[in-house]
């Protein structure tokens, strides 16, 4: 029994693990292609046909390599390119915080002294500005 028990967060979890490991799931094509095209013994040398000789670029791009770029776009490798650890984004983040604080203060001030109607107009205008900053931040 060497499996460490990680006390991981909430117990809410969905899983498709079969109850018994010996249970066979019908393999999907992606999993099969991944193995037969990219794994298994490769025999180089003067044989008649070797997968290495065949231009697989299209298939590979479609099935395998493309997934890496997608993963990158989705930020799965955030530890390699963590936007929050880069200077530019940290500045943007700080600026965003400053603007939010200022906006909140102004909203409060307006709410105290202005009639309800005009205060709402003001706020909406400001919120749009803030939203733009937010969206930049988002990228």
């Amino acid at each position: 029994m060497s499996g460490p028990a990680w006390p991981g967060g909430t117990p809410v979890r969905r899983s498709s693990i079969p109850g018994a490991p010996a249970q066979r799931e019908s393999a999907n094509l992606g999993d099969i292609l991944e193995r037969v095209l990219d794994r298994g013994v490769v025999i180089a040398g003067d044989i008649r046909v070797n997968l290495l000789d065949i231009e697989l670029l299209t298939i590979k791009l479609r099935l395998l390599i493309a997934s890496v770029d997608t993963a990158r776009e989705m930020g799965i490798d955030w530890w390699e390119h963590d936007p929050w650890l880069t200077g530019a984004n940290r500045e943007l983040d700080a600026e965003n915080r400053r603007l939010r604080r200022r906006l909140a203060a102004m909203e409060d001030a307006l709410a105290l002294r202005a009639p309800e109607e005009s205060a709402r107009e003001e706020r909406q205008g400001r919120v749009q500005e803030e939203e733009e900053v937010d969206e930049r931040h988002d990228r």
Binding site: R35, A71, W78
Partner: protein, 263 residues
């Protein structure tokens, strides 16, 4: 016999065949036979070069329907062989000129094959894929700080801030959990490797994949392995297998071709 044929190689095992070859239909609906040399057995089919020559393959490998049919047939034979004995699966469309050339391979790489086959004996490959569970785009939970006095603008910003943080957090948490899960599973497995994460188009799942691991597990530890995979994380986990040991049978000297081994 008209037309040229090649010898299509599926897999190599140790010892005499222990399965009924008559039940097997290989690529291009061809029967499967064996070539025995020393302690090794190669499983092969005779295939027409009009279909399995280099030029026809260049075209047909781009044809997803052909590729699927061929990959599934290849896989079917490899799996059947792997159920009968420790097996080294060979990559798709490895075609030899003739039997003599296959025998030469078995003689030349005899000890390499034996080493690889010893490593996978009494072990099976399991795939573990983990997906980041999506946080809802619009959090339904009310903001704890939002009181009756909070302006609509602030409430909006707070919601937005929370949504952004939630997404960031989700990634960090999911990636960290994937690392932990892989490390823990590696602790149980005899060997492990991480495949590239699959695109949602390939995985058929909306949730982004954060782990696509392969693990070579002793038969005696499969239950423990599955329990750990199932219980350890909050990620959505999917186990596939058992597989023939596709990911663990690189012959010595070919590891450099394989980028995932380095991970």
């Amino acid at each position: 016999m008209t037309g040229e044929h090649g010898v299509y190689l599926y897999a190599v095992t140790r010892g005499a065949p222990r399965l009924c070859l008559d039940d097997l239909t290989g690529v291009a609906s061809r029967p499967v036979r064996v070539i025995e040399e020393g302690e090794l057995t190669a499983y092969v089919s005779d295939v027409p070069l009009t279909e399995f020559g280099e030029e026809p393959l260049r075209r047909s490998m781009e044809d997803l329907a052909w590729l699927e049919e061929t990959a599934r047939a290849h896989h079917r034979i490899v799996e059947a062989v792997a159920r009968s004995a420790p097996t080294a699966p060979v990559r798709l469309v490895t075609v030899y000129h003739d039997d003599a050339q296959v025998r030469e391979l078995l003689r030349e790489r005899h000890s390499d094959f034996l080493t690889v086959l010893a490593r996978v004996a009494d072990r099976r490959e399991w795939g573990v894929k983990a997906y980041a569970v999506q946080v809802p785009a619009q959090p339904a939970a009310p903001e704890p700080e939002t009181g009756p006095g909070t302006s609509p603008g602030r409430a909006y910003l707070q919601r937005r801030r929370t949504a952004l943080r939630g997404r960031e957090e989700m990634w960090r948490t999911a990636a960290a959990q994937a690392e932990k899960l892989h490390d823990a599973l590696t602790g149980i497995a005899a060997a492990s490797t991480r495949h590239r994460v699959q695109d949602p188009k390939l995985s058929g799942r909306e949730e982004p994949m954060v782990l696509n691991g392969a693990y070579l597990v002793d038969s005696a530890r499969e239950r423990e392995f599955a329990a750990l995979a199932r219980d350890m994380t909050d990620l959505e986990v999917e186990i596939t297998g058992p597989w023939a040991p596709y990911s663990f049978t690189a012959l010595p000297g070919e590891a450099a071709h394989d980028d995932s081994v380095a991970r």
